[in-house]
Subunit: 431 residues, 2 copies
């Protein structure tokens, strides 16, 4: 059996062969990350973290969402937190985590500071995100179920490696940085629903860049601190599944199957929203809608008649009614207290029912529409169904355009696809 | 059963009644921490961490061991790491951790920045260290045995609360800061024997001060993230022993029984060195020395004939021979490669044997001396045997005098006992 850390380190430091799909999806995630971060820059948690760092001052090494610049470690903390503030960034279901928010803030900061080309940044980020997914698989679902926030724990490893790649680490340095970040990686699911959730993403990014900076300066850690009886896996309730973690490493990019969010609400609602989109429901025709979903979501996002924008983000009946009424579910601002009092919405909501169906997976939902004319139409959507690359590009770019404007989204996309310097990309963080 | 977090928060925010002994021991730990930190300021790990932070620049909010100043979070990281670099700081056996190195760096930084009196700093540090010991007891021995470095995990909670006390937190804020730091607290025992061990202390201090700064700025975490099914205890293999953790809280100061190190080597050797000290062994009289120790130490610090200074720090035969030959085991520099080649030492070492004795506890050692005149003398020492307060003061002050000079040690002791500002104390960090 190959050794986990040394295999991952050799992968991260070695020559790699990327697929066109992996490169495009990485660029889409970069655009998505940047757009979502800008949209979240004024959230309360964003302001608190940015203000803390700006009050510290220091060298303007890397730019921040919302404006200003800070030293590398501080910039990673700020940008990681801000880009997860809306919980609207990408998700990988294989290890249940948000790869971009831990890795891009760290990789972009160092790439900006060292004036690297965007193509190097994207390659480093892809490697880092691939590695965080594979560390996540190695830790396994039990790690997450027990209470660890995989975005933060596995994410710190990915961030460390991405920064190491930008710095040109060899395999020994990669092994060292993985060993060191193992003593720093942390983050609890107990913070879900609070400011602590985005903060976990920020700490993952900051932990990763700090570990890489120290290794480059000659810090000598235990490079074997992930596996073994006192390693990170053992202490953090990991499954230690090395075969799954390493399967296809270097040939297959698990990152390609990352999901982008196209609705600014709880991920548990997305399959139902996509099914409604497939049916192209418009309010006047609706006599009744019946939603079926995996039982787990019933306690997560089935608020029946919420009265606040936050509540709306966790309510099947509300978001499906919003979509049928033409509210744009891709825009965070659509989920308002006002929308909950819209009489048309309240009337439509009363015609929608939600039930658990354990024949559906967590990524599936079924929608049955009874029209006023008596016709019945039905659709089932599975978020894991691969989207064509061109569809995905269209939708990510549409989302970005809604969040930061079409011209800006196009300009950033062009920069990502045609090259330029990482510093030009960071110039866009400030909005 | 009282709730752990709310009880600790009420204790940390409320009026407290300290004993004279607790106050004196806190002052001794402050002196000891400061002297040990200064002695460790040029260690390789110390230079690496300080250089990283100084390159970031920023507001000179708090001074650093070795000179210079940095923003609060950075200063805590640097001073925590440096003060644990020699592993010569205080230890609390009830929870197996080093309380001072996590708490003082954080508490002193904020007290200096806010120009608080030393008396406030010492009270806050005492509360923080007491809390870290009690969180450590709540987590239990299994947490440590599994691989968590209690100095770093429990220490982060203590640091957060100490900073909160300096900031004047109420009980709600204390509860919030405990909840927030639970998502940040980390540190693996797998780093023992590497630069990662002192770094763990630094991260505890930095995590604590960061959490407190965020809570003061209005950050809203899950304040109940320590207990419960997804809390820090559950995820970190805690024993959840609330009764032990809270026993006597507010009336009894567990911190009073902290141990100070009087020999600059592995703690497993100290009971034997103290027994040798009781016997007042001098080399010419030694025909044979037999050392008995707890079996656990045989694999930790029983190198038979080390050839390096580092090896000497983990060798019963070497350190006992050093002491009998008049080398000062309190001085880090005494443990050199040269001492290992001293012919007198090599000769004496051959007359020393070490054996495991499971009738002894981990804090006990027995020494049997056979003199050349045929007389046999024997001593058993237990590190848990309380030392009189005046003996303890004498020995801590002697140790500090050896490390930083007698005048400096006296001046700092006088400052600690008679008042003054925290900023005057930090002026001494630079040496």
């Amino acid at each position: 059996m190959a050794d986990l850390t040394s295999s991952l380190a050799a992968f991260a430091a070695g020559p790699i062969s990327t697929t066109s799909q992996a490169r495009i999806v990485t660029s889409l995630s970069a655009l998505d990350w940047l757009a979502v971060g800008r949209a979240g820059a004024d959230e309360p948690v964003s302001r608190i973290i940015r203000d803390m760092v700006l009050a510290e001052g220091g060298a303007a090494q890397a730019k921040l969402f919302g404006g200003g610049a800070a030293p590398l470690r501080a910039a990673a903390l700020v940008n990681g937190t801000i880009s997860h503030a809306l919980d609207y960034d990408d998700t990988h279901f294989a290890h249940i985590g948000h790869p971009s928010v831990a890795v891009f803030p760290a990789a972009l900061a160092i790439a900006e500071f060292e004036d690297k080309p965007i193509v190097d940044l994207l390659e480093a980020a892809l490697i880092g995100m691939e590695l965080s997914i594979r560390i996540g698989l190695w830790l396994g679902r039990g790690h997450y179920q027990a209470g660890f926030h995989q975005t933060a724990t596995a994410g710190a490893f990915g961030a460390a490696v991405a920064v190491g790649r930008v710095m040109g680490f060899d395999a020994d340095q990669m092994q060292a940085v993985l060993g060191l970040v193992a003593t720093r990686a942390a983050g609890q699911k107990a913070q879900f629903g609070t400011m602590g959730k985005p903060y976990n993403a920020g700490q993952a990014a900051a932990n990763g860049i700090e570990a890489a900076m120290l290794i480059r300066s000659g810090f000598e850690p235990n490079a074997g601190a992930i596996e073994g009886p006192h390693g990170f896996g053992a202490t953090h309730l990991g499954a230690d599944d090395t075969a799954t973690a390493l399967a296809g490493l270097g040939d297959e990019w698990l990152f390609e199957s990352v999901s982008h969010k196209f609705h600014a609400c709880c991920h548990g609602l997305h399959a139902a929203l996509e099914a409604a989109r497939d049916l192209d429901i418009a309010e006047p025709e609706v006599a009744e809608i019946r939603i079926k979903t995996h039982p787990r979501w019933m306690s997560v996002c089935n608020q029946l008649s919420p009265t606040t924008g936050l509540g709306a983000k966790f309510s099947y009946r509300t978001v499906i009614a919003m979509q049928a009424l033409g509210y744009d579910t891709a825009l965070p601002d659509s989920y308002s207290d006002d929308v909950c009092t819209d009489p048309r919405l309240r009337s439509l909501r009363d015609r929608i029912t939600v039930e658990a169906d354990d024949s559906l997976s967590e990524t599936q939902a079924n929608l049955s529409l009874l029209r006023r004319d008596g016709a019945r139409r039905e659709a089932t959507h599975d978020l894991l169904t691969p989207m064509s690359l061109s569809d995905r590009e269209d939708r990510v770019r549409q989302k970005a355009a809604k969040l930061i404007g079409g011209d800006e989204a196009d300009a950033i996309w062009s920069m990502l696809r045609t090259g330029g310097r990482a510093a030009e990309l960071s110039d866009r963080l400030g909005g």
